[in-house]
């Protein structure tokens, strides 16, 4: 009996080429996406988010208008383009969502538990966070992503994120890189960006948050990561966890320079 390795060499011959059918499918899927693009339901979330941002809410009956998203209190425009980043007041690196949570706690008086209670909507149970994130991200539309990597904690987050990106575990041996380490691949019909390639990363990372037609709602980057780990047969990723933010810092570095087109529209 030949060894498995030898058998593989004997059997692995030229693979049949994918042929025309695959190209036709890709073309039609591309057309599907184009036809959807003329009306993005994320607009509804942006409008609702703006209203929520300016509404007096919580125990302190205050709005989020004085929230410091990194460019100073009260500046929303352009702030998303520089997130995640280090914040001195919390002494940690924060992404957009964790920073909104901070503002809901400090300005509006919610407990962190209240602020993080419903970050991902379900049918019939809308999420304020999905609306707020759509609004804040939308206020940086057209700008170039430019996240900092100067503070030691930002550098540390990048290096932790990098380690996590390659970390294989679980019954399927999956790591982030299992699906996002190559150009031009897809799962089923969905394209997979190579997240360490600036060309791919710039196009994709900057479209989150995005309205997902398969879920009937805007989903945030935190949800994207939660959902990836779900598929990877990992346990539930904690919302706004250190690992999630480290991965965002890692991905953002390759996506820097990409034009922000959030909230986007996806399958």
């Amino acid at each position: 009996m030949p060894s498995p390795r030898l058998a593989a060499l004997l059997i692995a011959a030229a693979l049949p080429c994918a042929g025309l059918a695959q190209q036709d499918t890709q073309k039609e899927v591309e057309r599907y996406r184009q036809l959807l693009a003329e009306g993005n339901p994320a607009d509804l979330f942006e409008a609702k988010g703006e209203e929520l941002w300016k509404a007096r809410r919580g125990p302190k009956n205050a709005s989020l208008e004085q929230c410091d998203l990194g460019l100073g209190a009260g500046v929303v425009k352009g702030a998303f383009a520089h997130l995640p980043r280090y914040f001195a007041d919390t002494d940690r690196v924060q992404d957009m969502e964790s920073r909104i949570v901070t503002c809901m706690v400090t300005l509006q008086g919610f407990t962190p538990e209240q602020a993080m209670k419903n970050p991902f909507s379900a049918p019939g149970r809308p999420s304020d966070m999905e609306a707020l994130a759509s609004y804040v991200a939308g206020e940086s539309k057209g700008m170039k992503l430019d996240t900092p990597l100067a503070h030691p904690k930002e550098v540390e987050a990048f290096r932790v994120g990098e380690q996590l990106f390659y970390r294989r575990a679980g019954p399927h041996d999956f790591a982030c890189v299992s699906c996002h380490g190559d150009n031009g691949k897809r799962i089923r019909l969905q394209d997979l960006p190579k997240l360490t390639d600036p060309n791919d990363a710039q196009k994709i990372f900057t479209t989150w948050p995005a309205y997902r037609v398969s879920q009937g709602s805007v989903r945030t980057m935190q949800h994207r990561l939660y959902d990836c780990y779900w598929q990877m047969r990992h346990p539930q990723l904690d919302y706004a966890s250190e690992a999630s933010i480290a991965l965002e810092v890692f991905m953002a570095k390759y996506a820097n320079g990409g034009e922000i087109r959030a909230p986007g529209l996806k399958r």
Binding site: A8, P16, T25, P148, E162, P171, V177, P235, A243
Partner: protein, 203 residues
């Protein structure tokens, strides 16, 4: 000024496997354990500890040096449990269902009585009727027609699905048999899907 220069990126990437990386690795492990605290503890325990192949493939970013690769391949090959000769080919119809199905082992999959799926179409083109297939792995369309369906091929396909890393260290393909994702019987159904002359894959 704060912009991340390509040089810095390069520098960070270059030290990926150096000794300075051990510090980052340990910090990452700490962060990892602190970031899945609200979910199922049993699942958390399952991913916190990596087996040898997972740890090595993580360390070498799926590009292990030759000696490490050979070690992984021989260890994994020794762990494959083959069916008795003559029992490699199951039922391709059941194989097609397993190839389509992505159920199992996610934290929202509580029904442990329902068999796990293989999710093969996520990454491979297989039967031509399914146009929604992935391209992470090679096309398997006409696999048996192109390569024959004799005993050595059956054995190879079974082993490859059971433990892909016995053939290629740090392959991205899950080790379905080794990790208990699929049963030995389910794997024989997938072997049939690829090799049975009656399977739509080979028609």
């Amino acid at each position: 000024m704060k912009r991340f220069s390509p040089l810095v990126l390069l520098a960070l990437a270059a030290c990926a496997t150096g000794p300075a990386d051990e510090e980052a690795r340990q910090r990452a492990e700490q962060v990892f354990r602190g970031s899945f605290t609200h979910g199922n503890r049993a699942i958390a325990a399952r991913v916190e500890k990596q087996d040898e192949a997972q740890a090595l493939c993580t360390r070498y970013r799926n590009e292990p040096p030759k000696d490490v690769a050979e070690k992984i391949e021989s260890t994994e090959a020794a762990g494959i449990r083959y069916p008795v000769p003559g029992k490699f080919l199951g039922d391709w119809r059941q194989g097609e269902k397993i190839a389509q199905d992505g159920y199992g082992l996610r934290f929202t999959d509580p029904d442990t009585k329902r068999p796990n799926g293989g999710g093969c179409y996520n990454c491979h083109r297989i039967a031509p009727a399914e146009i929604s297939y992935g391209t992470v792995g090679p096309s398997l369309y006409r696999f048996g027609a192109l390569r024959g369906a004799g005993e050595p091929v059956q054995r190879y396909v079974y082993g490859k699905i059971y433990d892909a890393q016995a053939y290629l260290a740090c392959s991205q393909m899950p080790r379905f048999g080794k990790n208990g994702v699929l049963t030995e019987e389910q794997i024989t159904h997938l072997v049939a899907l690829l090799l049975d002359p009656q399977s739509p894959v080979n028609k």
